[in-house]
């Protein structure tokens, strides 16, 4: 079953002469339980696709289907229970004045859960943070710990599809590996589907099953990771990208 279907997606910013077309005619599908990567250099529009799916980039045309739901301008609450996002910079994605407990508690409250205490405890265990982190503030946490809190927040509504916007690029290499392993474990445990954006081919080949290569707002090639590992890219830009990453 298809978890995510993107058809002829265009995303733009501004209007008139200032209009910038960030994504042009993107097509791809992600099967349920699959992990799909979007790869490209900075400004190629890969993060913009995530923001369009999550509803944070309001100007788009084309079709987005999530778990059988066709999306319009406004996202229903059921959408936020199905799709969640982890942001790139864990230093910017947590409210500086809210403790971990407040962040997770408010999220759970907004999704209508009433057994908040028990769920906060379970979420922190799920992402490998103990109870001693529950009442800390973001400035008392390291980058990797913050990203774990952000992942816990995304898991709180028990989503099916997780949008990962370069979740490890702001972290140290050793911490990157920990977070990637955590993401792999969580996918296995919760049966999640991932759509992951990255500019790092090794990260993508570690986490993803298939990937799309983007350049200047267009998807130039979709391939699976086996092809990536054997350097069997067909499009010249993908080959160039592969060469550069060795």
């Amino acid at each position: 079953m298809k978890m995510l279907e993107v058809k002829a997606l265009n995303v733009w910013f501004g209007a008139g002469r200032d209009r910038v077309d960030a994504v042009k005619g993107a097509n791809f599908t992600v099967e349920e339980g699959e992990s799909f990567g979007l790869v490209g250099e900075s400004g190629s529009g890969k993060s913009t696709i995530l923001r369009a799916i999550s509803g944070l980039a309001p100007q788009w045309s084309g079709g987005i289907n999530v778990n059988g739901m066709s999306l319009g301008r406004r996202r229903p609450n059921a959408f936020y229970k199905t799709v969640q996002m982890v942001f790139q910079d864990p230093y910017a994605s947590l409210h500086p004045r809210h403790s971990v407990d407040q962040v997770l508690g408010e999220t759970l409250y907004l999704h209508g859960f009433r057994d908040i205490d028990a769920r906060v405890v379970r979420l922190l265990d799920d992402v490998g943070l103990g109870q001693k982190f529950r009442f800390r503030y973001p400035h008392q946490l390291s980058g990797g710990q913050r990203q774990r809190v952000a992942i816990a927040r995304a898991l709180a509504p028990e989503p099916k599809l997780l949008l990962l916007d370069e979740p490890t690029s702001a972290l140290d290499v050793s911490v990157q590996a920990e977070v990637l392993n955590l993401l792999a474990d969580l996918r296995a445990d919760h049966g999640l589907t991932y759509l992951m954006v990255s500019h790092d081919l090794s990260v993508v080949s570690h986490v993803c099953d298939r990937l799309a290569v983007m350049k200047d707002g267009e998807i130039v090639e979709v391939m699976d990771v086996a092809a990536l590992r054997q350097m069997r890219a067909t499009h010249p830009y993908s080959q160039q990208l592969l060469q550069a990453s060795i």
């Binding site: 999550s54 509803g55 944070l56 996202r75 609450n77 936020y80 799709v83 969640q84 996002m85 942001f87 790139q88 910079d89 910017a92 994605s93 947590l94 409210h95 500086p96 004045r97 403790s99 407990d101 408010e106 999220t107 907004l110 999704h111 001693k132 982190f133 009442f135 800390r136 503030y137 973001p138 400035h139 008392q140 952000a150 927040r153 709180a156 509504p157």
Partner: protein, 303 residues
Amino acid sequence: MSDRQTLRDWLLTETPTSRRHAKLSALYHGWLTFRSNSMAMLGLAILVALVLTALFAPLLAPLDPFEQNLSQRLLPLGAENHLFGTDSLGRDILSRLIYGARITLYIVALVALIAPIVGLLVGTVSGYVGGWIDTVLMRVTDIFLAFPRLVLALAFVAALGAGIENAVIAISLTAWPPYARIARAETLTIRSSDYISAIKLQGAGPLRIITKHIWPLCISSLIVRVTLDMAGIILAAAGLGFLGLGAQPPSPEWGAMISEGRRFILDHWWVATMPGLAIFTVSLAFNLLGDGLRDVLDPKAGD
């Protein structure tokens, strides 16, 4: 280990065990930062003294602030049981200053309640909602800002009638636009940040985002700005009193006292100088406090 030490350790722990514990711990950390700033502590001490003076004015004042004695008018400093001398009607200046602390606090409290709250509401709504609401609210703010503050306050007082309450309302009405501007500027930077996007993805509405996520971040800079503006507010109230539009005689408002003393300033300098020093001290205390609060409340300064 003594009890005191364990309480300190409990407050400074890196691993709070409950919501209340985390709150208290954060407060204590803030207090430690504030305490290390000795100038801010001086400002706080002066303001605590001012509050105590206002509370216990009848006990502290040596004489009745309204009792006139024309045979003892314009006595110099230190004259027989008039430490700060007497004014043109023979009233004890020290007692009047002590009772005047109440009026000063009253003005400060009312303005501090009205102006920043109006400014916060206007600024955050304007900044978050944007569009034509932003345009309308900001043009209204511009109109208020275009008038010289004291002139606008004069117009309001003229319309509402002279008196300390109306002076406070007039000052508040002229004081909110800068707060609205600050709150709007802060909101514009906050609303595009990732943590606001993240809470939007939980389905939170604008009301929740503004009150629970934007206000806590705007309030700290507003509090700092209010304490720094307090000096100006006290001076504006004193200015209105000086022009005869604020506190009415025989009320011992400090600005009105300066205005009375002005007539004798060449021969009897203390009549105007003593209330002037009081205004100066309180204004300075608010400025020092504001400086210290900025260090504590800045959310980016967290260690």
